[in-house]
């Protein structure tokens, strides 16, 4: 049963309608997230262990190359490189997965969207939320590594959901922007993959900020992902408060991306659905 009163003339109120739709459909979103998490690994031997294995393999190789060959040191050796590296990789993976999944969710759900009425933004949001859930699960290995290496788990861990939710807003917004274009042109998704890789290298995930020449620091600072990573690292293992500007920049980009994505998407949906 869809809603009990439908008037095509009743204009969607941009932003307000979308947020209402997310709230109204929250049980559907929960269901889709659960399905995404289970279906992904259903026919594999390792099952949900892939969530751990994937970042562990990447981290292992990068630890050998950059930790042992290049001998990167963090905070003058005070922070174990593996903790720095793993925290960076996990957050970047979350960003990449969420953005790509949210961007392709509309096209992938065409089979549903052309048959029953469901607010389309629900699918982008669910895809980003599934990536967030995946990230929360994979956080366990980081915490284990923190304990093993003697870094410990600071009380600020309870604040980590803040950057996680900010990232959810950022990726859902970017995803809707990408989706608006991807419905017409399939290669937008491929292009996004390339862009994500580029911006990942501009984020200090595996190299210390100290190796960046002063003349290039502005580029790193401009990159929103750096602010997310700074806030995340401060709370997940450093046990300190992040720089005020990092936090502000993170919140600002999250809100702007979400608002922009929703606005562009809701304006173009009417012309998108007929080509879906």
């Amino acid at each position: 049963m869809t809603s009990t009163y439908y008037d095509s003339d009743k204009a969607r109120r941009p932003l307000v309608s979308e947020i209402q739709n997310i709230w109204i459909n929250r049980s559907l979103i929960r269901l889709i997230v659960g399905r995404d998490l289970t279906v992904r690994y259903k026919r594999s031997i390792l099952g949900v262990w892939w969530t751990f294995l994937n970042p562990l393999l990447t981290t292992g190789v990068m630890w050998i190359v950059f930790g042992q060959f290049f001998r990167f040191e963090i905070d003058g050796g005070a922070t174990p490189y593996i903790v720095y590296l793993l925290s960076g990789i996990l957050l970047i993976t979350y960003f990449a997965q969420a953005t790509l999944a949210a961007g392709s969710a509309i096209v992938n759900s065409a089979g549903v969207l052309t048959k029953v009425y469901v607010p389309p933004e629900v699918f982008s949001f669910s895809a980003a939320a599934a990536a967030a859930a995946n990230f929360m699960i994979s956080l366990i290995i980081l915490l284990v590594v923190q304990l093993v290496t003697g870094v410990g788990i600071p009380w600020t861990l309870v604040l980590v959901p803040i950057p996680v939710v900010a990232m959810l807003a950022l990726t859902a917004g970017l995803g809707l922007l990408i989706a608006s274009a991807a419905v017409r042109f399939f290669d937008v998704i491929d292009f996004t993959g390339v862009l994500i890789q580029a911006i990942s290298y501009l984020t200090p995930t595996f190299y210390p900020l100290s190796i960046v020449p002063d003349s290039w620091l502005w580029l790193i600072r401009l990159n929103p992902l750096y602010s997310y990573l700074s806030v995340f690292r401060a709370w997940v293992y450093q046990g300190t408060m992040p720089a005020a500007w990092s936090f502000t920049y993170m919140m600002l980009t999250a809100v702007v991306a979400l608002a922009l994505g929703v606005w562009v998407f809701s304006r173009s949906w009417k012309s998108l659905v007929v080509v879906l």
């Binding site: 439908y6 399905r35 549903v112 009425y117 007929v274």
Partner: protein, 245 residues
């Protein structure tokens, strides 16, 4: 008289066809520079107006490509009208290409919950109803089996059973009356009749003209997106039949 369950006012719907179809942004930009992008508006529906009152059964007939399915999707809220207005009052059961969102890796039970929730019911209600929904479709033994091992007939039965599990105010039916074997067809048309008897408004698309004659109390003949005639099903269907033969 109360407000009609369905109100369609001068509704039109255009599909935009790129003449030189460019599937990728790169091609699009190249063609844009060469000024080769030209869009063709294909009006699947133009200036369609009608009403359906409570308890009425409206049959829609017409050749392939007349815009019948587009109209159904517009009533189901899937396609917003390009021009004009559509108002639907009451809960809607869209029976268009049943089984939207079925996932082959999930079990019958999981798919019942997902499909029902996509149709706007709560997951809790669907979990409670799943046993009965499966029983009605003769699929009780397969509830915990991934539906990739279902036959197409079983899938269709499951879809129908979920879609018709609750009694809607408005039923939008696009060629789904021929689901399953003879016994199931009997059962499903009985269920439809019961819904109609209980006062549901129905819009029905069918190429089976006898079905339209039998159930509809009004009919519309649609051709190339326009209403050719509207009125008594016997007359409208007759007119349409003479035009094709």
């Amino acid at each position: 008289m109360s407000d009609p369950a369905i109100q369609v006012e001068h509704a039109s719907l255009a599909y935009r066809l790129a003449r030189s179809s460019s599937g990728t942004a790169k091609e699009y930009v190249i063609q844009l520079m060469k000024r080769q992008v030209s869009y063709e508006q294909l009006w699947a529906l133009s200036d369609v107006s009608f009403m359906v009152h409570d308890g009425e059964v409206l049959g829609i007939v017409g050749p392939n490509g007349a815009g019948k399915s587009t109209l159904m999707k517009m009533l189901a809220r899937v396609l917003p009208p390009t021009d004009g207005r559509v108002v639907v009052r009451g809960s809607v059961a869209p029976m268009i290409e049943l089984g939207a969102g079925f996932n082959t890796e999930l079990t019958g039970f999981e798919n019942i919950v997902m499909y029902g929730t996509l149709l706007g019911r709560t997951p809790q209600l669907m979990r409670d109803r799943a046993e009965e929904i499966a029983a009605w479709a003769d699929l009780s033994d397969y509830l915990d089996v991934p539906i990739r091992s279902y036959s197409s007939g079983m899938l269709a039965r499951l879809g129908f059973s979920v879609a018709t599990d609750t009694e809607p105010d408005v039923l939008i039916v696009d060629e789904v009356l021929s689901v399953g074997d003879a016994a199931f067809q009997q059962k499903s048309s009985e269920r439809m009749r019961k819904m109609i008897a209980n006062g549901a408004s129905v819009v029905l698309v069918s190429h089976n003209l006898d079905t339209v004659r039998a159930i509809a109390n009004r009919a519309i003949w649609l051709d190339r997106g326009k209403i050719v005639s509207e009125g008594d099903p016997e007359e409208v269907v007759g007119e349409y039949e003479r035009s094709v033969s």
